[in-house]
Symmetry: C2
Subunit: 579 residues, 2 copies
């Protein structure tokens, strides 16, 4: 047996996601490295993204979040025996001495302070959950969802039957997941308060966000968007959460309003940080000190669509970054080029996924974006288990580059798979032409011959080429129901009479029905108004009608994107949405 | 209303997939075009890929295959009224007069022959199902699965209760789908005969093909691979199908042995065709006559991985090609760059998908390929509904370019989604580094933090870098069970004793168990033999063990790819596969 000689000393601060990945990768490439991982907590190497599923009870034991796929607990003993990695828990790094290449650490059990030398140091210090700057937000029983202690505390409260009502502050991913965890499995009456006008505002176009909201409401969750929480007051164990418009009473309050990168240690050591307080790194994930690397929730990385540095705290990115850092430390060469911002979420019976940027973000970044909404089956439309999928695609008019995509539907796997394929194109700067010809594997149980992603690209292209003059579903409702719309606005509904009837009955002469198969013979009946909007179930037949009206009558009209299906799913026309 | 003046006359021969798409696209871009579509059949514009699902009964009425998503029958009346396209069924094109730009057509009902002038002609003549060059293969009741007439005839036979046994000749996609259709829904005793050693040989690596075979056998289908059908004999309504090894008796015989492109009309017109008889086209899908386009099953297109022209008859490609032809005819500019060969299939409870080329094809094409097998959960391993997914990835050692990928698992949507994302990378020439960092959207219900596609790329990279010396599962079985393996071969099983025990009991001293968490302390027990193969459940822990053995003992060993999970799923070690 060869003598084990230490080739390099690696100290890793933080042992949740990026830390363990670095440690294992270094040891696999160079088993003679001495790797020490420290963490101020006692819980290490856990799947933080699993917390809502532990709270719900889907994951029965918190240990499952800390175990390997073969059910072995990833505790310090595991790291020592299986990986050859030393771990010290309940140990806090208080200072980095860059000149002498040492870390000052404090044992939180004994109070003992010591200096540990390193050849390479890794900062995997993560992020701190934000708390709102309002009275009561720092109450110890106002939870954030940031670590396993919170998770265990929340679940214990639930198990004791102490929670009948809950307020979740923040309608982002964690807020939505926690709302489901509390409402679905524990029957808690949950209210979600979101400051912006729609849920998941960083991820979804407004009509798609409305689908999520409507679905959550159908599941019994109260959703208050566009409301600011001003105060949290506790009295005898009950909280009163005051927003600009109402006061909500709750047995438990959960703040899910984002996280801030934890860069204090880096700042103190004189390392470069970003305006948001994240640790600045290059593409090899080195900080401004080449012997110190950083990864995970404490860094910012370039967004491949905008070129801008962004803070995206995701366990999946942490894992990829950990591998890059491990390779570099072990003497290899690896880079992390950036992110496209892929994201997915299960909300009760819906699955949604997004990648890239939204239309609003695209506008802010100076693109000239186009936005296509497409509604189509997730399988061949004749296949018995098919269901509708709702998709938005954002592209740049000038370069035709894809900027972002969002999908939502009952079959979450099918949605996520479609968005992943677009994410792959985004990563390589793909265009609408690439997406139009993207070779989605086809068989009737899994896709359409012309799949929804291809249809979305074709629609965006048709809009850019001026063939498909569109109006978005939310704007359509605003214009049509607008007070001064009167005689200047007409809807031409080209669906079959049985589908159009309720609308015709409700809106009278402002809603005209000519089934598409009769349109070429009845062109004379097409109303001549300032604002004609053509309507069908999805936007497909209305596009065909639009082309015919444009050519044969030489008139302008607009196609209502997503049609009746999207309007109904998003609850945009509630009283008479059924067709 | 503007007077309708004909801008261009377009004649389309063939009205199943590519034809209707061309017709509709032309009319949308240029409603003043006169578009005539002819077909020798009475059935038009149907989803031919849906035939097995109609035969099974999943699709109850054949009309569903000919209808739009809003349940409107796509018959000649539909094309006339909705699309402004003229259709003549039961009309055969017999000759193209290129000098005068006319097509000679024969009305199959009246026998009337006439010449139709065109400005642009589209050949969408499809493909002819192959029949084996053996006695009896042309018997009228030996079916191919090529059109709705066959489909209706087969289903009628089933409905009348005339089919108790069936032989399906050909273990390709259609053969597998038909076997399921007959066995699953109708309870028919089905035998599948495939000439090559594994099912789906053009798509799957051998161990993955074995997964399909084992699953079909578990569902009651008899599968005979490596057998050639020599004769089909009918006696009193019962067929005897004679292979090199046995004679199978059947009430119905289905030949699914591929199709040949139908290029006769093009040949007769002096257009360029390929050695396989397909119509040659350029990237705008023009034939050697610029006024004649061709698309769908009658053409060959470039494979983007190999650069070679290939014949891939798929409805999805036909649709994309139809749009390109339509754009070009209407005066636009569009190209079809080629295919990556994406493919998916449902076989009973399994879903599988592939893209690119197999390892064997890569060898033939002169690549220096590496093949990685990965077994991993389709969701976070702690998420309750997770299941295993089995994947093969093929890449080129020199350029690290991805050449192909295959996936299989119980959650078909999840499998297909992963392969689609790799297909997107293939389309743009992506490398292992791209796949390693591919940003699969992550949330525990839908993916792993380090997803299987990333793990596959990492594994392939580790193999190329010499970190992971592997042996494929089928070769492992061959070597280990080989007659002369004796003392020179040992397996080091690093799973827990409870999992390893059945193997140790069966194979004695040739199968050594040292759990991975004890390996660093028990390195002295690692056997010193010519051929040491390290084994775990998936290939992950054994990789870790391999690294430790290599570094600390300086010894070579090989990692069994896919481990116990893949071997069990593929039934490679049948008597004692449970662990």
């Amino acid at each position: 047996m060869k003598k084990r000689q230490v080739s390099r000393r690696v100290v890793i601060i933080g042992a949740v996601a990026v830390g363990p990945k670095v440690a294992c990768r270094v040891k696999r490439l160079d088993p003679n490295a001495h790797v020490l991982m420290i963490d101020q907590d006692e819980f290490i190497s856990y799947g933080g993204c699993g917390i809502p599923f532990f709270v719900s009870g889907d994951v029965s034991d918190v240990k499952e979040l800390m175990s390997t796929s073969f059910h072995m607990l990833r505790d310090p003993k595991f790291f020592r025996n299986v990986k050859g990695v030393e771990v010290r828990t309940r140990t806090r790094a208080t200072e980095i001495l860059r000149e002498t290449k040492e870390v000052v650490v404090e044992d939180l059990n004994t109070g003992k302070v010591e200096k540990i030398p390193y050849d390479y140091l890794v900062l995997a210090t993560g992020a701190t959950p934000r708390r709102l700057p309002i009275p009561g937000s720092d109450h110890p029983d106002v939870f954030t969802v940031s670590n396993l202690h919170d998770a265990v505390a929340i679940r214990e409260k639930l198990s004791r039957g102490e929670v009948g009502t809950a307020v979740v502050i923040g309608g982002g991913p964690i807020g939505c997941e926690m709302a489901e965890a509390l409402a679905d499995m524990w029957g808690v009456e949950v209210s979600v308060v979101e400051i912006l006008p729609t849920l998941l505002p960083a991820f979804l176009e407004p009509p798609l966000a409305r689908i999520v909201q409507k679905h959550m409401e159908e599941k019994g969750v109260s959703v208050y968007t566009g409301e600011t929480v001003e105060e949290i007051r506790e009295e005898n164990g009950t909280f009163r959460v005051k927003t600009g418009r109402r006061t909500l009473s709750a047995d438990i309050v959960i703040q899910a309003v984002g996280v801030n990168p934890r860069g204090e240690l880096a700042v103190k050591a004189g390392l470069m940080t970003t305006p948001k307080g994240a640790i600045a790194v290059n593409e090899r994930l080195q900080t401004s000190d080449p012997f110190i690397y950083a990864g995970g929730d404490c860094i910012e990385v370039p967004h491949l669509v905008t070129g801008r540095y962004v803070h995206i705290p995701m366990g999946s990115l942490a894992n990829r970054q950990g591998r890059v850092i491990g390779t570099n430390i072990a003497g290899g060469y690896a880079t992390f080029e950036g992110v496209v911002g892929s994201f997915c979420l299960k909300v009760f019976d819906l699955g949604l996924a997004t990648t890239g940027i939204t239309y609003e973000q695209a506008l802010k970044e100076g693109f000239d974006p186009v936005r296509a909404y497409v509604v189509q089956s997730d399988r061949a439309h004749f296949y018995p288990t098919q269901g509708l999928m709702y998709m938005a695609l954002i592209a740049d008019r000038k370069t035709r580059r894809i900027l972002g995509a969002q999908g939502i539907g009952k079959n979450g796997d099918a949605v996520v798979g479609r968005i992943n394929s677009i994410a792959a194109l985004l990563q390589l700067g793909g265009t609408l032409n690439h997406l139009s010809n993207l070779e989605i594997a086809y068989a009737p149980p899994f896709a359409s011959a012309m799949d929804i992603v291809n249809a979305a690209a074709n629609t965006a292209e048709n809009i850019i080429e001026g063939l498909n003059d569109t109006i978005d579903p939310d704007e359509f409702i605003e214009v049509f129901l607008g007070e001064d719309s009167g005689d200047r606005v007409r809807v031409l509904d080209v669906r079959s009479p049985v589908n159009a009837r309720p609308f015709v009955e409700r809106f009278g002469e402002r809603w005209i029905n000519i089934p598409q198969e009769e349109l070429l013979d009845r062109l004379a009946e097409v109303p001549e108004v300032e604002n004609l909007m053509v309507f069908c179930n999805s936007g497909l037949r209305s596009y065909e009608a639009l082309r015919q009206i444009s050519h044969h009558l030489g008139r302008k009209a607009r196609n209502v994107q997503g049609g009746a299906a999207l309007i109904k799913m998003a609850g945009l026309l509630p009283e008479n949405g059924d067709d």
